[in-house]
Amino acid sequence: MSPATQTTTPKISVRGLRKSFGPKVVLDGIDLDIGERESVVVIGGSGTGKSVMLKCILGLIRPDAGSIKIDGTEITDLSTGEREQLMRKFGMLFQGGALFDSLPVWENVAFGLIMGRGMARAEAKKVALQKLAAVGLGPEVGELMPAELSGGMQKRVALARAIAAEPAIIFFDEPTTGLDPIMADVINELIVKCVKELGATAVSITHDMASTRKIADRVAMIYNGKIIWNGPKAEIDHSGNAHVDQFIHGRASGPIEMQVRAY
């Protein structure tokens, strides 16, 4: 998987990404390539830096060192204006949904269209209702406030918001955490369907193996701030890596030590 042997530029290319919070090293040289239209799931225990990696790529956290390229273009040193432009390529599903609680559901979904791209409200509402339908929610839900929805419904709305502007790259941060197994499966299927329909590149982080098996083309495992294993989904059960084996089988004993602090 070295860049020289690849025929096309990877959609996202991360090299030597480092980030520390005070004395705590969270990312210790992450190397990861993600191809166009590929769905990569990054697995790893809580507090291993999965979210920090996504936030570095999104520019929400400034990395200490390393390179991040989108379509071959370096993005770690972009100006704010250039980054706002770049963000139009991205959709992000936050762990807690992060819906705007002062706005009704449809305006949440249409937010990126109205505010980010200056689309007229009436037109944006039409698109929002289509996207809500795509995640299995009727137009009546559009008029509700986010606080009136259950956790699973909020996740669906957040998914509709993430795909509303038809991004080329979508990030999913723990998409199934806190959901019952049935709703988790519904969300997984919606993710697979939406990513396929958009032809988007997807990066998910999770510790839910059922979700991983459903949405991944390729799996990467992060441990101690490094990618320690990376391969096709089919190979995950015979990776030959003791850390991966322990994680996917959820064993309490093994080489992985538990993190106490968030970071």
Partner: protein, 258 residues
């Protein structure tokens, strides 16, 4: 000895760092706020929230401030047989000083807390990060409209507070202290100069900006869930109240000291 010096030094450095971070925050908000896209709906919402919904609180406090001012001035001035100065004292105190300060402190409690709690909750639930991923600059969308609304609405509130405060003094003077009502109004208006009211309104604009800034800044930098938002709200109100009194002195010195 060395340890106590070190703690003084580190407190001082923390103070400088916090001041620098606050100024940086305000400049960023202005830098992004003056550039399009603008968010008129957000601005309008803040105008209504700060200007309209604060009217009852500000009006009531102004009324009683004016009333008690007339009463206290009477008890003091009657010892020198100087009761006739009451209209002048009331109108000057209210327009120059008490209108802006009382309205500022009330709005700091009402609006500063609301802004810090709302933005703080948005921060801890990732809503501010979500704004960024939706190509919307949070300084431009959240902070700039609140700063501008605070800057414009507080003078409007203070103008109302001035009128109600002077009216409070009039009520007590004419119905309790036996002033001739027409005479009282005449003396109030004659004595008042445009500069008195204008200086009060200029103060109010500064206070409004401070209230919105402290609310936004503390909310924006809140950490760690419900407790963090609570702390941010407290800091916002306390720091805005202190800064209002500090800037009140500084501005009074600038406007009126000869």
């Amino acid at each position: 000895m060395q340890r106590s010096l070190a703690s003084i030094g580190s407190t001082f450095l923390d103070f400088l760092a916090a001041t620098g971070s606050l100024v940086n925050f305000a400049l960023l908000a202005l830098w992004y706020g003056v550039r399009p896209p603008y968010y008129p709906r957000q601005f309008l919402r803040q105008i209504i929230e700060i200007g309209y919904y604060s009217l009852p609180v500000v009006g009531l406090t102004a009324l009683f401030t004016g009333m008690v001012l007339a009463l206290q001035t009477y008890t003091g001035f009657s010892r020198f047989a100087a009761e006739s100065a009451i209209p002048n004292v009331v109108v000057l105190s209210v327009t120059r000083e008490l209108g802006p300060v009382i309205a500022g402190l009330m709005v700091a409690g009402r609006i500063g807390a609301a802004i810090a709690a709302e933005i703080g909750t948005m921060r801890v639930t990732d809503q501010i990060d979500a704004l960024t991923t939706l190509s919307t600059n949070p300084y431009r969308y959240l902070v700039a409209p609140r700063l501008l609304a605070g800057l414009l609405m507080l003078p409007a509130l203070v103008l109302v507070a001035d009128i109600i405060g002077v009216f409070g003094g009039y009520l007590v003077s004419s119905y309790k202290l036996g002033f001739n009502p027409a005479n009282y109004v005449q003396r109030s208006v004659d004595f008042l100069q445009t500069a008195d009211v204008a200086a009060g309104l200029a103060k109010a604009a500064v206070f409004g900006f401070i209230i919105a800034l402290m609310g936004c800044y503390n909310g924006f930098h809140s950490r760690g869930g419900a407790q963090g938002v609570g702390a941010a709200t407290t800091y916002a109100v306390v720091s805005a109240s202190i800064l209002i009194l500090v800037f009140d002195y500084v501005l009074t010195e600038a406007f009126f000291a000869r």
